[in-house]
Symmetry: C2
Subunit: 148 residues, 2 copies
DNA sequence: AGATGTAGTCAAGTAGCTTGACCAAACAGG
DNA sequence: CCTGTTTGGTCAAGCTACTTGACTACATCT
């Protein structure tokens, strides 16, 4: 049957994210939504960002970004620090709880990959990763938004 | 790097859906949202459904489902017919415009697969499809929700 | 026939965004 | 320098796609 791969991609992706969501909730991270994860990932690789930068990355307005940061700060996932050179701006960085959450997601993803390797073999899984990389690269990887 | 496959799945899926969305809009289907596509797929394989059934399948309340059907009916994607045996119920079926949209999505997905086959080869693509199927089956394919 | 369940409706509330107006700090050019 | 423009963040109001809750009419079970 031709044309079913996109559907399978969606279902596989959804299955991973659903499981991660459930497992995180069991471990106490019961208040994280998809958009939060995408923000965490951005903050973890950049080390910090202003609300405006975060909004651009997430593809939402700065007002929405600020609101998201407010919520994450209230829940202890991020902290706001004064910007070193710009007195208007504040830098958002991951707090301990935010880092802990990121680490759990990384571990759960790795666990999923191990299960998948057991199902289809390490070589097939490597091929799958390479192929997906090729597709994403070919697509130009515009606004990535994994949108878990 | 271990654990990156889930991210690649998300990015690849997002890339397909983004392109389909843009192409559909160019072809006049500029008023379809992700949830609509999922409803179309359900209606096309079942041949019809009540608003309540549709809501259960989409994972939303019946009120939300009715609202969605109202909108799709107004835009000519679906029709409501009296239920043959239950005078309370009405059956929602795809209208011509709905079928046309479904056909375009199927064609665009097939086109994407051909492009991917050109990138990595037909055998690799077949392997990828089989492997994704295995993952989805292993996950138990709970509420599928491709959620484009 | 009566009790219970179900399809759909009506009404009100909510979450997560949006647009628009604004202020204060930053910055670029004469 | 000052002066005009850009930019980070805030305040306020509105919108959309949902939600919960109460209700009606028909269906179904006993």
């Amino acid at each position: 049957m031709s044309g079913e791969i996109p559907a399978l991609l969606g279902m596989a992706f959804h299955a991973v994210m659903e499981e991660v969501h459930v497992r995180l909730a069991e471990e106490g991270f019961d208040d994280v939504r998809p958009a939060h994860g995408f923000a965490f990932q951005y903050l973890s690789v950049r080390g910090g960002a202003t609300a405006v930068e975060l909004g651009e990355h997430l593809g939402v307005t700065k007002q929405a970004a600020v609101q998201l940061v407010d919520e994450l700060e209230r829940r202890g996932y991020v902290e706001r620090r004064p910007h070193p050179t710009d007195r208007r701006a504040r830098v958002v960085v991951l707090a301990a709880r935010g880092w802990a959450c990121v680490e759990r997601v990384v571990a759960l993803w790795a666990e999923t990959e191990r299960r998948w390797a057991a199902l289809v073999g390490a070589e097939r899984l490597t091929a799958l990763r390479d192929d997906l990389s090729a597709f994403v690269t070919a697509a130009g990887s515009p606004p990535i938004r994994p949108l878990w």
